[in-house]
């Protein structure tokens, strides 16, 4: 990576960048400092990654390089140079030349980052026209060529399609094609692989790596340390607007100096963290989790031959779940992994009795559970509870926390002051103060909301807790706290957990046994170490290979 020749001139050079946001466009509106004293440079052929959790200011920093911070931003810097020129003095017209021409931007989730009403070719063409790269007549051919460069198969067909007609990975690569169409020397990628399956993520990262190898600079923004580890040359760790640590990737990720970086790395769940808390103690050591008792003979939940199809009338039906069977023992954690479209969401609905299967059955503690008329199921509902990915949408938007939890306690016949006491006890158990009772979930942070959801789910003392991607939308550190909490509760109450996730690391950390799903069927199941370390099936192997390189913690 480091050549003997002198390093090429940096594409962007930033020194002491500070960004404030005003709360409104009025002259004296109060300002909040969002980025403080950030300095870095990106050179051609180099990948610089900015990592941080939400609120770290990483995206804001990236946007200042394009002048896209918005009208409420106030930017100051000792140095802000793009391609050698002082960007602090840029006019709007000058910025427009930079955007797309000198620096290209790739955002996350191309489904919402590309205009859904226009074809992929038109979107790429817009860049070509704006920067006058080719005459109009030649733009379609150039777009096809660009799609080919980023590895989109059958580009001559794809160029006339709309974003929703492409799969997630192809869409993202089309987005990259539009970002590089004017041959910018620097690419800024802001969470480019979020919302993508693991295997697809690998393809997108490879595409970006190729650009770097060909001489472009890459500024990668991500919260995902593993993704960053595979591709970055330099890493900048940001927290709440400030740089915590920065340096060569191997140093920052391999032997971090700062405590925050160490905590961040330690909080990543994996096989290595199994049985230990993800949140570190004061002296930085890993504390073991309380032991769990698994009664392998006592089956608490059993699915047999489940099958569910969707689609009505004459249209051919979609099979969402096909011949799925597994069991969950008392005190055990069963992980269900799969990419999107694998059917795991439908399995969740079936386990909860929210839809009935077309074939097969679910048994709860030996008794029939699904298919069953709702009135016969109702009395036993307290035994199976749910934690969803987005807690906010699982709360009635008009209710306070107290009412939200009360809905669940009421189901066990506890009302009035006894219900409030129980709610307070539950909140304490999940680490929240009882002052939260009067608050609206909207005013709580994501981690707090998920704890409220857990408290609510625990109210009826369930035997099985179904967790559907419960930490996927949380920051790493918050995820660590929530996973530790779930482990504690499990050890105390002996609750069984069905943990559905597409994140193999998390599953490896929490689960005893795992089920791998693909295209509505179970591909492989068994002990979690067996399946992940010694996979028998081709698909499982591909999944594990696609994971970004391990980060040595």
């Amino acid at each position: 990576m480091t050549a003997a020749a002198p390093a090429p001139a940096p594409l962007v050079q930033v020194a002491s960048l500070t960004v404030d946001f005003a709360s409104s466009s009025r002259r004296r509106a109060p300002r909040t400092r969002v980025v403080r004293d950030v300095s870095f440079a990106v050179r051609p052929g180099e990948c610089v990654a900015i990592v941080g959790e939400s609120g770290s200011g990483k995206s804001v920093t990236a946007r200042t390089l394009l002048g896209l911070s918005g009208p409420l931003a106030h930017i100051e810097a000792d140095r802000l140079e793009i391609d050698g020129r002082d960007a602090r003095r840029f006019s709007e017209a000058r910025w427009r030349e930079v955007r797309g021409g000198t620096i290209g931007m790739v955002l996350q989730d191309a489904l919402v980052s590309l205009d859904p009403l226009r074809t992929v070719g038109a979107e790429i063409g817009e860049v070509l026209h704006t920067h006058r790269i080719v005459p109009r007549a030649a733009s379609r051919d150039r777009a096809i060529e660009l799609l080919r460069q980023v590895g989109v198969p059958r580009p001559d067909e794809r160029v006339d399609q709309h974003p929703h007609e492409l799969s997630g990975g192809l869409r993202q690569r089309a987005l990259i094609a539009s970002a590089i169409a004017a041959e910018p020397r620097l690419i800024i990628a802001d969470e480019p692989t979020t919302a993508l399956d693991v295997t697809v993520q690998k393809q997108v990262l490879d595409t970006l790596q190729r650009r770097v190898d060909e001489g472009s600079g890459l500024l990668l923004i991500s919260h995902d340390l593993a993704v960053v580890a595979g591709i970055a040359d330099h890493v900048i760790v940001m927290r709440q607007g400030e740089v915590v640590e920065q340096g060569p990737a191997a140093e920052v990720l391999g032997s971090p100096r700062e405590e925050y970086t160490r905590e961040l790395l330690a909080a990543i769940p994996s096989r290595a963290s199994r049985g230990f808390r993800l949140g570190r103690t004061e002296d930085g050591s890993a504390e073991p989790l309380p032991a769990r008792a698994v009664e392998a003979q006592d089956t608490v939940l059993e699915a047999e031959g489940l099958r569910k199809t969707f689609g009505r009338g004459r249209r051919p039906a979609t099979v969402a779940v096909d011949d799925v069977s597994f069991r969950v023992a008392r005190g055990e954690t069963l992980g269900i992994v799969g990419e999107s479209g694998s059917g795991k969401s439908t399995v969740v609905n079936l386990l909860l009795g929210l839809t009935d299967p077309d074939a097969g059955s679910v048994r709860l503690a030996g008794e029939p559970w699904a298919p069953l008329p709702e009135r016969e199921r109702r009395r036993r509902r307290s035994a199976v509870q749910l934690i969803s990915q987005d807690p906010l949408s699982s709360f009635d938007p008009r209710w306070t926390v107290e009412r939200v939890i009360a809905e669940s306690t009421r189901a066990t016949g506890v009302t009035g002051s006894a219900a409030r006491d129980r709610a307070r006890w539950l909140l304490e158990r999940v680490g929240l103060s009882s002052g939260v009772l009067e608050r609206h979930p909207r005013s709580l942070s994501g981690g707090q909301r998920q704890r409220v959801a857990i408290a609510r789910a625990l109210a009826p003392d369930p035997r099985v807790l179904v967790c559907d991607e419960p930490t996927s939308a949380l920051d790493v550190s918050v995820q660590a706290q929530v996973l530790d909490l779930l482990a504690e509760i499990q050890a105390e109450q002996g609750t069984s957990l069905v943990f559905v996730s597409h994140d193999l690391g998390v599953v490896h950390h929490v689960a005893d046994r795992v089920v791998v799903m693909k295209d509505a069927r179970i591909v492989e199941q068994g002990d979690v170490d067996d399946v992940f370390l010694r996979p028998r099936e081709e698909y499982t192997r591909r999944l594990i290979d696609a994971l970004p390189q391990a980060v040595s913690a």
Partner: protein, 302 residues
Amino acid sequence: MSALDLARRPRVDIGADGAPAPRAARPAPPAAVLVSAAVLAVIALFVVWPGLFTSFDPVRSDVANSLQAPSAQHWFGTDRLGRDVWARVVYGARYSVLIGIAATAIGVVGGTIIGIGAGLSGAFVRGRAGRLLDEALTRVIDVLSSLPAILLAMLVVTFTGPGIGNIAVAIGIAGMPLYARVVRSQTMVVVRTDYVAHAAVYGRSRAAVLTEHVLPNGLTAVPVLAAIDIGTSILAVSGLSFLGLGPQPPTPEWGVMLSEARDILRIAPWAGIFPGLFITATVISVTVVGRWLQRAADRRIS
């Protein structure tokens, strides 16, 4: 091995775990809203206490004084029959406003019932029957929306003759589709939300889910919609009266006044300008206040 993929949903923006988000200060209503509220207050006084504003009789003719330009004695001048225009405007407020409110009420009640029926039909009635019910009710909404208020009123009046009640009903019926559509789509969304599904996980009965979740969340848009719709109703009432389908002369309804003024417009424009001005002012004020209420309601949710 480790991986930290984020799921398909966009990331939830979370602050540091612990610090509560400061509650946004409720802004004072802008000047336009205050002015509009004041206008509405005045109109309301016109309705309940017209005698406070004028001593002239709005209905009795005084042909000797006809077609007088606005003056100190007759602030808005007099019309063809010598009646004081200002007095007629003041006394006329009650017709437009009260009939407008009545018509909106009819629309709200009818439209909401249809909307709830259609929105819930998929969830509460299984399978094909549910979809058919929704289709049927949507057709009903379509039929109602195919006729603008004016034509519907004309149909009703042909059969029953002109009058206050008839046009209130006609405008009300023509206004139902607005509420029916909004309530239908909102209830459909609510029925499919996560929190309604979670209620099932706690074993709540369908009736409980309906009363505690679906209705309160499905009908949130209605009150504010109705507030703004009163303006539309007032326009419809005066329009129908203008055409002669509503209250008949000598009732000082604002629309009737305008139709009487049409023939004498060249020589006595004041007879036409002022009633229309008051209709416009009332409708604008209702709309401004209504929209502000809507923004306030939206702010409370987000």
